[in-house]
Amino acid sequence: MISARMKKHGAIWIVHALLGLWLVFSLLPPVMLVAASLNRTALFRSPLDLLMFRDFTLENFSQAFTRGDFWFFFTNSVIISASAVVITLIVCVPLAYGLTKISGRAREAVSFGVLAMRFIPYVVLALPLFLIFVNLGLSGSRVGLLLAHLSIHIPFATWMLVGFFDTVPHELEEAGIVDGCSPWNLFWNVTLPVVRSGVVALAILVFIISWNEYLFALFLAGNDAQPLTVGITRFLGGAEAGAEYGIIAAYAVLVIAPVILFALTANRFIVSGMTAGAVKG
């Protein structure tokens, strides 16, 4: 009896120790970034020095804001990510809803097409878009970059939303039809409210994907539409020597702050969104 209890306690201890170890591994890179951003650094320092804030300063942040066009990159990132969310929702919510209303072959064919598009490597789209945009005069514009983002968001969002709409029971709409609702009312007032949290989850994920996107920006942003992810790589040349290293860390912290805040506060939505596809093809 005693040994069984000890064994049980031992098991709890081991499980928590392993989870804690994993947490350290997961969070070490962002924690080191924060530590480096809050220390005065002209040269590389040992991790312990950084973590104990031996040379605490906020100077790096004021430098990151004033040098290197932070607000220019920030504005581009915000405009592109926010527009991507709005347009993706306007396009994909009706599209996914409609897909659950048609039946048989047609639905299967369209769903297959949408799923297939999710497998396309980004570089396959980015390279031709580069030339297409040069021809259309869209290279280096936010509109062009936004279109590129939509080419990955729309298949992803449609596929995910179909999963949410499929969970709405048919009886709900049938009751609406008996009450004489118009097709638009059925969609807007009957079904959409049921999947509201799914739509929120999708909006957050689309924002995060756009915010984090780098490949399209590198290919298509030119000089005028560069987002934060391109902005930070601008610093890297000087960083190898250790020169601007604290400022880069501060800059990096500013780039990841919004997505990490999302991850912590809107966690419930992100989890539901990411596991939504796990049970279906």
């Binding site: 997961s26 390279l127 915010w211 984090n212 880069i248």
Partner: protein
């Protein structure tokens, strides 16, 4: 009856058509043009003169040892990421699902951070603070125990493995999340029955949990294959494809050919072979998935 059926038909399609047309235009146009460019000689410095060369670009690509090398590196990178992510994902999910663990939502929220963290920034953080030869955490720990202090990212032998581990760090949360969600649906009675039969934690992992996770393993694998196969950001931030060409995956190779060498015909050819490889993988996945579902039914 006929009228209501037609109503039902048009009702769906009115919602679908605008989005479908936009999607076809926005994805179909670059895909078609990419294929078209791959059949032409297109150079950035004079891209208005495009000579049709048929499959010549494809022949040149497959004859190019650098392309074959890049294909090999992409395969190692992708398979490495899948094995590590699926393995660690199951393990962490299994630990998190242990009966005694409290505050599971909080653990999961913190575990998710590497997944949402901007990959370029993740790459920079790992390069400066973990892999860095002199003051990186890894070498600080190694030398503390009297170990060596290699140049992880500057050595051809280790750079690819360092990028695989870094990218797995980014992808494992996704795997953990899906497996954890699946584990919570396994009824307690099953574990109970296992315990009564004298199964320890490892037996229950192997004989009870893994068989039930089979469709989820397939699902996670395909997502990770898709993501790792096209990965650019993380590797670019860590090594830029170097040292030498030891981490030049196909995405980076295509970028180098197209933007740096200005050979857009060849770049699009490389990209289109990636598309074909992914199409085959997607087809395999859908076939396998139907079979797995068939087994269960």
């Amino acid at each position: 009856m006929a009228a209501s059926r037609r109503d039902k038909f048009t009702r769906g399609w009115w919602f679908i058509l605008p989005g479908l047309i936009l999607m076809a235009a926005i994805v179909g146009t670059p895909l078609f043009m990419g294929f078209r460019y791959s059949l032409h000689d297109v150079f950035l410095y004079s891209f208005h003169t495009q000579n049709f060369v048929g499959l010549e670009n494809y022949r040149r690509a497959f004859a190019d040892p650098l392309y074959v090398n890049s294909l090999r590196i992409t395969a190692i990178f992708t398979i490495g990421c899948v094995i590590i992510s699926v393995g660690m994902g199951i393990l962490i999910a299994f630990l998190l699902n242990a009966r005694q663990v409290k505050f599971r939502a909080m653990w999961m929220a913190l575990f998710l951070i590497p997944f949402v963290m901007t990959p370029v920034v993740g790459g920079i953080a790992w390069r400066f603070f973990i892999w860095q030869q002199e003051v990186g955490v890894l070498n600080q720990v190694l030398t503390f125990f009297g170990g060596p202090a290699p140049y992880w990212l500057l050595d051809r032998e280790t750079a690819l493995w360092a990028t695989i581990i870094t990218n797995s760090w980014h992808l494992i949360p996704l795997a953990t999340l899906v497996f954890y969600a699946a584990l919570t649906t396994i009824p307690d009675e099953l574990h109970e029955a296992g315990r009564v039969d004298g199964a320890g934690p490892f037996q229950s992992l192997w004989y009870i949990v893994l068989p039930m996770l089979r469709p989820h393993i397939l699902f996670v694998s395909i997502i990770i294959i898709t993501s790792a196969f096209r990965e650019f950001d993380m590797i670019w931030a860590l090594t830029g494809g170097g040292p030498g060409r030891s981490t030049t995956v196909l995405s980076i190779f295509a970028y180098n050919r197209g933007i740096a060498n200005q050979d857009m015909g060849m770049a699009n050819t490389i990209a289109f072979t990636m598309f074909i490889i992914m199409a085959v993988v997607a087809w395999l996945y859908i076939t396998l998935y139907r079979k797995t579902l068939g087994d269960k039914a």
